[in-house]
């Protein structure tokens, strides 16, 4: 029995818990499962990690070699942070009484974990699709307004999965196996798989599902959603496309464009969704650089990003839970009634903005420094630009408009205890993982190449000073612009993104074509009837005496069709060689 354990993907611990949740009538049993399952999965990873035996659970099935478990240094760090995030999500959602949410959140968590531990492309694809199918219910839990967004979400994700599968088949034919190792762009299927992964990673122009679906999901749903899909995609990139140069440029664009959308967006959860996209950009750049230090930075950034991003989403979720909206124009002055949430949000904001002593300070700089080492100064400069942008939308805008700014006059209760506890755990990790004396070293020790990571020392006088100067300058600009009255007020509006193209003109074209098709069909039926009436009355009568109440597919038409196909068949066998 115990020999079997290393061959079981830890994901199944969580997925099975999710299935049990469906059948559990008791709220507390479900919550216990939600908290216990990630812990058990974490222990399974710890127990079964063996540096000499990373590929496990292998079997051959229908001619394909499956490797269902691969726990090596790269996937392990993702695995641990996914388990931690699952635990935090479980605590955050403790108050919620909803079977669908509980079970889908668990299955989704498990699927994400399973994808990260997948050792071959087919297993990856299966878990990849499972994340899509399980998570869409979390979007739909956001209420009727989330329905269409959920459909679009599902469409994008299924497309992502089938692209991955199509690419995998091309690659598998070329390589002779489906092992998931470095793929690159020079092999058949490489581009298609990159496109499929890019959808989940929020590549520019493929990103809209993030900002579309996440803000519409339920309070707890968004926190869960924001954790797994995108980071799973980053893992797939790190595994398959490390050092692919084009990713540097894709990543830079990803860090830049969300900054401009975030500044004009009113819904703070949508601001966070854009900010998420921007953070993913940093990781994609790191993967594109591909050096050991850059990949360490990506892994570290994924860890802290999951923690502080869910902290921010949780704080906005708590606001939404209590107030009923997360729109900047409707909020303000909430520190009076939700001060603890405000502190948590500030810790999250400081972490994402990479203040010294806060989480991203030690990891984001690894990525930026690796770009600098390559003497890629333009990219370096643009990343600094984006860092200042992060300070604007996540560091200042989110906490300022929610908790400070002018008082909206709303007085509510502080967030529920379980939410505060979940936020507290995340905040503690934000601080501990950046602590200069033994804190960040723990994170570094988990990275794919700890020896390389340990060579990097984040807390040098110069690094602290430059980062502080950058942030102080941003704060100064904020204060100055505010004073001059140029800082824009928050206005309620729908901001158009590229998804405008398919949500308006695209939809209109689809509706128009549908209408035209209906008309055309009606016309065609009439035409066929008329023509048949004129030129082939006899034939028509022979085959369809029921005439007037014949169906939309009269047998006369079908008979003609048969004759046509026979003609085609004869033509083919006679003439086509």
């Amino acid at each position: 029995m115990f020999d079997l354990l290393p061959h079981i993907n830890p994901a199944f611990a969580i997925i099975i818990a999710g299935i049990l949740c469906i059948f559990s009538p008791s709220h507390f049993v479900r919550k216990a499962l939600m908290i216990a399952a990630p812990i058990i999965a974490g222990i399974m990873i710890f127990q079964t990690y063996d540096p000499n035996d990373t590929l496990r659970g292998q079997f051959n099935f229908a001619g394909i070699d499956f490797t269902t478990v691969r726990i090596d240094r790269l996937s392990m760090i993702w695995g641990y942070v996914f388990c931690l995030a699952g635990l935090i999500n479980g605590i955050f959602a403790f108050h919620e009484k909803c079977k669908i949410s509980d079970s889908c959140a668990l299955i989704y968590t498990g699927a994400g974990l399973g994808a990260v531990f997948a050792g071959d492309l087919i297993t990856l694809f299966m878990f990849w699709e499972l994340t899509a199918v399980s998570s869409v219910f979390l979007v739909w839990r956001g209420g009727p307004a989330a329905y269409a967004a959920g459909m679009r979400y599902l469409g994008w994700h299924v497309l992502s999965g089938v692209l991955l599968l199509a690419g995998a088949i091309m690659y598998g034919r070329y390589a002779g196996n489906y092992d998931f190792n470095n793929i690159g762009l020079d092999v058949p299927g490489g581009w298609i798989m990159l496109l499929g992964i890019g959808i989940k990673a929020g590549f520019p122009l493929l990103h809209t599902w993030i900002q579309d679906a996440y803000p519409k999901a339920s309070v707890t749903g968004t926190v869960v959603l924001a954790t797994f899909s995108t980071k799973m995609a980053i893992y797939a990139l790190a595994r398959g496309y490390a050092g692919t140069e084009i990713l540097i440029y894709i990543g830079v664009i990803m860090t830049l464009f969300p900054v401009f959308f975030a500044v004009i967006e009113n819904d703070l959860r949508k601001v966070l969704a854009y900010s998420l996209n921007n953070q993913l950009g940093f990781m994609v750049v790191g993967v594109g650089v591909g050096s050991a230090m850059a990949l360490n930075g990506v892994a570290g950034q994924v860890v802290v990003h999951i923690i502080f991003k869910s902290l921010l989403f949780m704080s906005m979720g708590a606001v939404l839970h209590r107030i009923g909206t997360a729109k900047a124009s409707e909020l303000g002055g909430l520190f009076r009634s939700m001060p603890i949430t405000a502190i948590m949000c500030l810790i999250g904001a400081a972490s994402i903005a990479a203040f010294p002593l806060f989480a991203a300070f030690v990891t984001k700089s690894m990525i930026i420094a690796s770009v600098f080492e390559n003497h890629n100064y333009i990219v370096f400069l643009l990343l600094l630009f984006a860092s200042a942008g992060v300070m604007e939308h996540s560091g200042i805008k989110v906490p300022f408009f929610a908790f400070f700014s002018h008082d909206s006059g709303r007085r509510v209760k502080e967030a529920p205890t379980n939410m505060l506890l979940a936020m507290g755990i995340a905040a503690a990790f934000c601080l501990v993982l950046a602590w200069p004396f033994g804190g960040y070293q723990m994170l570094f020790a988990l990275m794919p190449e700890p020896e390389v990571a340990m060579e990097y020392i984040p807390y040098t006088g110069n690094h602290i000073l430059t980062q502080l100067q950058l942030l102080f300058a941003a704060m100064f600009a904020f204060a100055l612009l505010k004073k001059l009255g140029v800082y824009p007020d928050e206005k309620r509006a729908q901001i158009l993104d590229i998804d405008y193209l398919w949500r308006k003109p695209g939809l209109a074209i689809a509706k128009w074509s549908d209408g035209m098709m209906t008309r055309y069909e009606a016309y065609q039926t009439r035409f066929v009837k008329n023509t048949a009436g004129k030129i082939g009355t006899r034939l028509y009568q022979v085959f369809s005496p029921a005439g007037s109440f014949s169906e939309d597919a009269p047998s006369g038409l079908a008979a003609l069709m048969t004759a046509g196909i026979l003609a085609l068949a004869l033509f083919l066998v006679y003439f086509i060689r």
Binding site: T325, G389, R410, R411, N462, M475, F476, A477, K483, Q494
Partner: protein
């Protein structure tokens, strides 16, 4: 979810949370006025300390006085650029709230 939310929203000014004291200073006029000076002081101090901790691997643009204030200039410029671009962008991209006609969620 909307039901239990509406119960919790009390209009008018109820009691503040006891911990709100921590932040009350942010609401004073002094704080608003002096916030800018904190950042100016921060800028000056960091620039001054840069003399002691110079950048070991300077970028090509870190020459002359830029050695001390390069990051401040980049940060300040980037921030201002982003914020100033908000107005034209908003004019170009904003539409009425229920533009896509899918209903607006999470609204009081």
């Amino acid at each position: 979810m909307s039901d239990d939310v509406k119960l919790n929203v009390q209009s008018g000014s109820g009691e503040n949370h006891p911990l709100a004291k921590l932040f009350m200073w942010t609401d004073t006029p002094g704080a608003k006025k002096n916030f800018i000076w904190i950042s100016v002081a921060g800028l000056i101090i960091t620039a001054a300390l840069m003399v002691i901790y110079p950048n070991k691997h300077p970028a090509p643009w870190e020459v002359g006085p830029m050695k001390l204030i390069a990051y401040g200039v980049i940060g300040g410029f980037a921030y201002t650029f982003v914020v100033l671009s908000a107005k034209p962008l908003f004019n170009m991209l904003s539409r009425p709230e229920n533009y896509y006609g899918e209903g607006d969620d999470h609204d009081v």
